[in-house]
Symmetry: C2
Subunit: 141 residues, 2 copies
């Protein structure tokens, strides 16, 4: 029996999970496989659940939520807040910003080096800057 491409994705995922102190369960390996096989993905819990279910894998929605949060804690994902009603997770954890097509719920990365935010005043006393998020809201047409 030869190793399939799928096995290699799973192996990569398993390794990555172990490196981040996460036990590589079947569910986490499947989700990590989907999330990190390709680059720069933006998912919601629902969209990821649909995707993994569509691939014939049985993972509960609760586990998708748990896993997204654990991956975020572990630094494998980053949360993106652009919509009051949905929470997005981004596989790109580096310095970058986003275009957001509200109507379609579509996020597009903007390289961090491209954008520069100048003139941010010092925050009021007792506060320190955590990070600066830029959302470029765009629409068709």
């Amino acid at each position: 029996m030869v190793k399939s491409a799928r096995d290699s994705v799973a192996d990569q995922a398993t390794l990555r999970l172990r490196q981040h102190g996460l036990r590589p369960t079947r569910q986490r390996v499947e989700l990590a496989g989907i999330l990190f096989r390709d680059c720069d993905r933006h998912v919601t819990a629902e969209s990821l659940h649909d995707e993994v279910s569509g691939a014939g894998v049985k993972v509960s929605l609760a586990t998708v939520y748990n896993t997204l949060h654990q991956f975020t804690e572990a630094g494998l994902l980053r949360q993106v807040i652009v919509d009051a009603s949905r929470c997005y997770f981004d596989t790109n954890t580096g310095n970058h910003q986003h275009f957001f097509v509200e109507k379609e719920g579509l996020l597009i990365d903007i390289p961090g080096e491209a954008i520069e935010v100048a003139g941010v005043p010092a925050p009021p006393d007792g506060l320190s800057v955590d990070r600066v998020d830029v959302v470029v809201r765009v629409r068709r047409g």
Copy 2:
């Protein structure tokens, strides 16, 4: 009977509502009075409902939601998206950005002239920029 300060706030609110094609109902006048009496306020539906209720005025939460959206449509308010679970409304509709203290749900305005965002790439084909939002996430300490 002399005119009270409260009446004058109500008169201003009434005028403003008429100017924007909104019928000045008791509820809308009360809410507009609270929102626009002072400058630069940031509210959620819940916080505004608490505030108006606390002032002894009876307005349903549904009406607060309706009113916030109508005011936004009319250009009297602007929505601010900084939190995945709550929706904020800002009485400052001009060009400006925000500090956000996540733990406290606190928004602080940054004048639009202060901040400059440079290097935003052209959006992908078929998309045009609606606006650019900057959120400076800050924390105590």
